[in-house]
């Protein structure tokens, strides 16, 4: 049954997210983003749903020791980085 | 050129922008009033049906499990065994209450088979719409009142073949547990109810005159829940 399999997978994914969310909001967030170091409780609670949804991305950043949020990627920033005008 | 510029974190917006903003807020609030008025007024599906939720009553009568569980309650003054048999043979002298279980389930016919044709008392909540009545029976509240008496089946009167156009509804919701309880918005719920054993009813709406409710059964008088669910269109 496709629908049942889909829902079970979704449930497992979100459950993993919840398990990951606790250590992340307490410790992980400030590791990958220094501005989260002194975030109040409200902030930590507010980001939990998002952490549950996007945990693989955050887990990878935390695991690979990323210290700062990424720089956005657009034509100007790419051109500035490459050092050549397009 | 008007050089006003809005900055959200400033305490106050520039006067021109503030004026536009006030107009916009008024428009939005008008929407917040007008739209619910229009939509609430234009609803057509809500009928007159009742579920006496929270008001459990006692009922006594003869329980039948065929084709779907129901309780025959003699009209006042016809209360003894002999009249009951006559009641079954002439339905006009008794009220029939369809019996269903709580939530989206019919009464399990196997578990009440021992009461079939017997006088019973039970507790439950009344559901009704038009001249149709139903009881949501409290679990394990059925008691036989007169274990000896068993009443035979009513005689079958064939009315011949008819073609009828209508909507199959789950009787429990349509008769009152949910109002509105029919058409597409209710379809998934109806499918769950019929799957759970609630008797399927063919609702035939007439141009003039009251709607007709026809309990759907197989040719040999058995429930047809499965057939209703798995037949196409």
């Amino acid at each position: 049954m496709i629908a049942a399999a889909f829902l079970i997978a979704l449930g497992i994914y979100l459950a993993c997210g919840l398990v990951f969310a606790l250590p992340f909001v307490l410790v992980g967030a400030k590791r990958i983003d220094p501005h989260a170091a002194q975030g109040p409780w409200g902030f930590r609670l507010l980001i939990i749903p998002g952490v549950m949804a996007l945990w693989p991305l955050l887990l990878r950043r935390w695991a690979t020791g990323v210290k700062e949020p990424p720089e956005e990627c657009n034509a100007h920033r790419r051109a500035a980085r490459k050092g050549v005008a397009p | 050129m008007n050089d006003e510029f809005y900055i959200g974190w400033e305490a106050k917006a520039a006067p021109g922008i503030g004026k536009t903003l006030r107009k916009a807020v008024v428009c939005l609030l008008v929407l917040a009033v007008l739209v619910p008025v229009l939509l609430a007024m234009s609803q057509r599906m809500i009928g007159v049906s009742v579920f006496e939720w929270g008001a459990v009553k006692s009922f006594t009568g003869v329980l039948r499990t065929q084709p779907y569980p129901h309780l025959l309650v003699p009209r006042p003054g016809t209360n003894d065994y002999h009249t009951l048999q006559s009641v079954i043979n002439s339905p006009a002298s008794a009220s029939a209450y369809h019996l269903v279980a709580p939530w989206k389930f019919g009464l399990d016919r196997a578990s009440i088979a021992t009461f079939d044709g017997k006088s019973v008392s039970l507790k439950g909540t009344l559901i009704y719409r038009g001249n149709q009545t139903m009881i949501e029976v409290m679990p394990d509240s059925i008691r036989a009142t007169n274990t000896a008496s068993t009443i035979g089946l009513p005689s079958v009167v064939p009315l011949g073949r008819q073609t009828l156009l209508g909507e199959i509804v789950d009787s429990k919701c349509f008769l009152g547990v949910m109002n509105p309880g029919h058409l597409t918005p209710h379809r998934a719920c109806a499918i769950r109810c019929i799957s759970g054993g609630v008797p399927p009813v063919l609702l035939v709406r007439q141009k003039d005159g009251p709607a007709i409710y026809l309990l759907l059964v197989s040719a040999d008088g058995k429930p047809v829940n499965k057939q209703v669910l798995y037949s196409r269109a």
Binding site: L54, A75, A85 | L21, S42, R44, I46, W103, T184, R232
Partner: protein, 387 residues
């Protein structure tokens, strides 16, 4: 923001915004419910609430979707955009309550798992009324959840604005799903012309505003597109401006085209560039705000800083860096002013790099005066004299 995250950065405008939002939503829910109860006293309360919350969420989504194009057509509507995320989160919460009530009322207490029932309880039999409309609502709700869950600035910073924006563009998918949800759902039952008309009017409004705004945007963009090679100065100008073209500076606009403390937007190097004029100087920065990629060129210089029209993030025009303690940075461009024209080098400097502002000298100012009169001949003459 470049400072510590907080739950919500409250300020007076946001409180006003939220008061209107909560007041409007409450009015909607109360009016819908009370009127339904008065007109149809036998209605089932759960279904009444399902309808109140569903339609409320759907109306709010329409409003949210219209704010974007409205602001592009008239910046006076920008206050509506300022705190739109709270409207979005509210819309999700209304949809969530609607869905929860539906699951409890229509799916729970049956022989099937109530969530699974959303998917398996609508067998298709070929008729319009059998199209399973509830899964549309489910997927719309998932999208609204993703958007609401990532609405905090933490997510903007950690996903980066372009990724965040793409995620939030899914709102259009959600809207389409909900139009289907309603069309194949409640409209199949509640077929009154008023009901159908209201939904249709909503769709026409959302589409109409988006098409109008998009058309204008395309027109403006094609007007202001510059490329280093295609836009060689015209013959009369090349007389006097040959030197900038040699090192690839591009003639962007006339100094006089820019009003004081405002910008002119041109397209250069694959993205828009905002050229600001302030205090007798010209600076050019990437038009893309680091916060939510708002159009900085539609902003204004306020107390010496470029201020974004969307949420008021600020950048110093010469360095492209936000004033401390904030840490946002955008790319800058080298600029020159010659003979009343602004020349921009197409190669952006790394974000936060100072580019010396070009001074509008006396002669340029006089030329400005001339070119305002539209007399291009005198411009050439004047420039030639100067040489």
């Amino acid at each position: 923001m470049g400072v510590e995250y907080v739950s919500v950065q409250w300020n007076r405008q946001k409180k006003f915004y939220d008061a209107v939002l909560v007041g409007g939503v409450a009015a909607f829910l109360v009016i819908f419910s009370v009127l339904t109860k008065v007109l149809f006293p036998r209605v089932t309360d759960e279904i009444m609430l399902i309808r109140a919350f569903g339609t409320g969420a759907f109306l709010l989504l329409h409003i949210i979707l219209c704010i974007g194009p409205l602001c592009r057509l008239n910046p006076q509507f920008l206050p509506l955009l300022y705190n739109r995320r709270h409207a979005g989160v509210t819309c999700f919460l209304l949809g969530l309550i609607h869905a929860a009530l539906v699951v409890i009322t229509y799916h729970a207490g049956s022989d099937t798992n109530p969530i699974l029932s959303i998917f398996v309880s609508s067998p298709i039999n070929g008729s319009v009324s059998s199209v399973p409309f509830q899964p549309f609502g489910f997927f719309a709700l998932i999208i609204l959840f993703l958007m609401a869950a990532t609405s905090h600035d933490f997510w903007l910073a950690n996903l980066s604005a372009p990724v965040w924006k793409s995620l939030h563009m899914l709102v259009y998918v959600a809207y389409a799903l909900l139009v289907l949800h309603v069309t194949f759902g409640v409209i199949q039952g509640e077929g009154s012309p008023l009901y159908v008309g209201t939904v249709a009017l909503g769709l026409v409004t959302v589409l109409g505003l988006h098409i109008t705004a998009a058309r204008r945007e395309v027109a403006l963009d094609s007007e202001s597109r510059l490329t280093p090679h295609a836009s060689r100065p015209t013959e009369s100008q090349s007389l006097v401006t040959s030197s900038p073209t040699e090192d690839e500076f591009v003639d962007a606009c006339a100094v006089a085209d820019i009003s004081e403390n405002r910008a002119r937007i041109v397209c250069l190097s694959g993205e828009r560039v905002a050229i600001f004029k302030y205090e007798g100087k010209i600076s050019a920065v990437s038009n893309v705000c680091q916060h939510q990629n708002g159009p900085l060129g539609e902003g204004k210089i306020v107390s010496g800083c470029i201020t974004c029209p969307w949420h008021g993030y600020q950048y110093q025009p010469d360095t492209g860096a936000s004033p401390p303690p904030f840490v946002e940075k955008i790319p800058t461009f080298n600029v020159r002013v010659k003979n009343g024209r602004v020349f921009v080098h197409p190669k952006p400097n790394p974000a936060g790099t100072r580019a010396k502002p070009a001074t509008i000298d006396g002669s340029s100012r006089r030329e400005e005066a001339h070119s305002v009169t539209g007399n291009s001949e005198s411009l050439v003459t004047l420039a030639a004299t100067k040489k």
